[in-house]
Amino acid sequence: MLSEMFSFPFMVNAYRAGTIVAVLAGAVGYLMVLRQQSFVGHTLSAVGFPGAAGALLLGLTAPLGYYAFCLVAALVISRVHHAERSAQAAVVGTVQAFALASGYLFVVLYKGVLSGTTALLFGSFLGITSTQVVVMAGVATVLLTALVILGRPLLFASLDPDAARAAGVPVALLDLLFLLLLGATAAGVVQITGSLMVFTLLVLPAAAARELSCRPGRALATSILIALLVTWTALAVAYSSPYPLGFWLSTLAFGTFLAAKAVSRVRA
């Protein structure tokens, strides 16, 4: 069955893209959960929807729209980042609602892709082009390199901003860089999971990993591993079943999360 599956170029591309996205989502997702920025992450992903729909409306490719909108949204959110937390949540929520509304509008205006709306929202493994994979790989290389360089100070600033600032860590700069990192990651992940299902890869593997290890390095590696296993399995199952990829991704990811919870219960 495997050899049959990989005889289709679209499945090969789906696996390539899925692998890249899983590694990124597992790593960046772990830090996002640690920083309690899941809501921001969700909004950045939601913004991908009007981004892709708008790009298609203008005759451009969807990935261009994803990256442009997610990064701009990250910059917008960083502007209010220093405001009070409650004010920030309100702004982030507003951005999210506005994004979904304008995405819907774009889809209606561009009558042609109405059938593609489901894919934009809930993900699809069909039709991932080789160009798309190359772009994803390039972006992922830049992001992972950045993550390795920022490594320790980013962890310090995430856990303990006051102490980090006093130790000379540029906390405000790291806040901004992480938002951009998260925006670019979300733009990559939505291309597989769709705008509404990003959490299956961005949050659940990280949350599961957190249950399994409380050492940052190990938990991060575990998060990546879980994201990879979930993605690979979901792609194979979606290929041979009538149900959509998003369904399998979320079911598997949620199952893994519950299992990890159970394991940590038993251990404690």
Binding site: R152, A164, A167, R215
Partner: protein
């Protein structure tokens, strides 16, 4: 010998409001200074000035013979009241380690250097008596246990000047005494200069070399015997304050000005 900390005719304004002025401070290596005063008077802000995170409006500050920002590597800092969220699943050891190398770019790779660092971290944790629970997720520790680990973090780079913002805050009486003793040992045995912000002077009174009382607009500095007296405090705050000495040597300050009374100009 250069002083660890020197402040000349210092005045600080935050948000356009003058907090204190005419502040004169000298802390020599090995000296233990307590900073006292009502809520909102600018005690934490004073520490921020020493860290170079806030600028004096007037006057001059010298830290270990230079500008505050040039001394970050040689200054340890314990921010005020940090309790980690119960959901933070990172070991106490990892939090302490951030104090050692959390400011360095990159990620630590396993090897000799890393093992050395862990040995130093264990030693730090031992010194503050936190070994029994340093392996557990910090979010699940009590406030006092967290505080001990954070003190270990502040000591991680063998500071010559240690700034502690209400370190006794969430501790019970025996632990207050133990931490006070630990800090005074650092002064006498390792020659560390300590500036401790405190609300209750009694647990540290036996070890103090100097006291600074901050009041809106002014300040009084000197030995505890000189500063914590009815005359000095009444003169400083402009309201009648009585200092009583209990038979066990404990000081009781009666009629201590309440924060709201000092904040007529503060808007909410």
């Amino acid at each position: 010998m250069t002083a660890a900390l020197e402040l000349r005719a210092g005045a600080l304004a935050v948000g356009g409001r003058l907090l204190w002025s005419e502040l004169e401070l000298t802390v020599e290596p090995g000296e233990f200074l307590a900073v006292l005063g009502p809520n909102g008077v600018g005690k934490s802000s004073l520490l921020n000035v020493v860290l170079g995170l806030r600028q004096l409006q007037r006057g001059e500050v010298t830290v270990l013979g230079g500008a505050p920002r040039d001394a970050v590597d040689r200054v340890g800092y314990l921010p005020q009241r940090r309790n980690f969220d119960p959901s933070v699943r990172i070991r106490g050891l990892d939090i302490v380690r951030l104090g050692v190398d959390g400011h360095r770019w990159g990620v630590p790779f396993p090897g000799r250097a890393s093992r050395e660092t862990w040995r130093w971290v264990r030693e730090l944790v031992d010194d503050v008596g936190a070994s029994a629970y340093a392996d557990r997720p910090i979010g699940q520790l009590s406030g006092g246990e967290q505080q001990r680990l954070l003190i270990a973090q502040a000591l991680a780079r063998r500071p010559e000047l240690l700034l502690l913002d209400e370190p006794l805050d969430s501790l019970d009486l025996p632990n207050q005494a133990a931490v006070a003793q630990l800090v005074s040992k650092l002064c006498t045995e390792r020659g560390v200069a300590v500036v401790m912000v405190a609300h209750d002077v009694n647990p540290i009174l036996p070890y103090l070399d100097k006291v600074t009382y901050l009041a809106p607009g002014g300040a009084a500095c000197g030995t505890p015997q000189d500063v914590i007296t009815s005359e000095t405090l009444t003169g400083l705050f402009g309201v009648s304050i009585e200092v009583l000495r209990a038979s066990d040597g404990r000081l009781v300050v009666v009629g201590q000005p309440e924060a709201p009374a000092l904040h007529g100009d503060r808007h909410h």
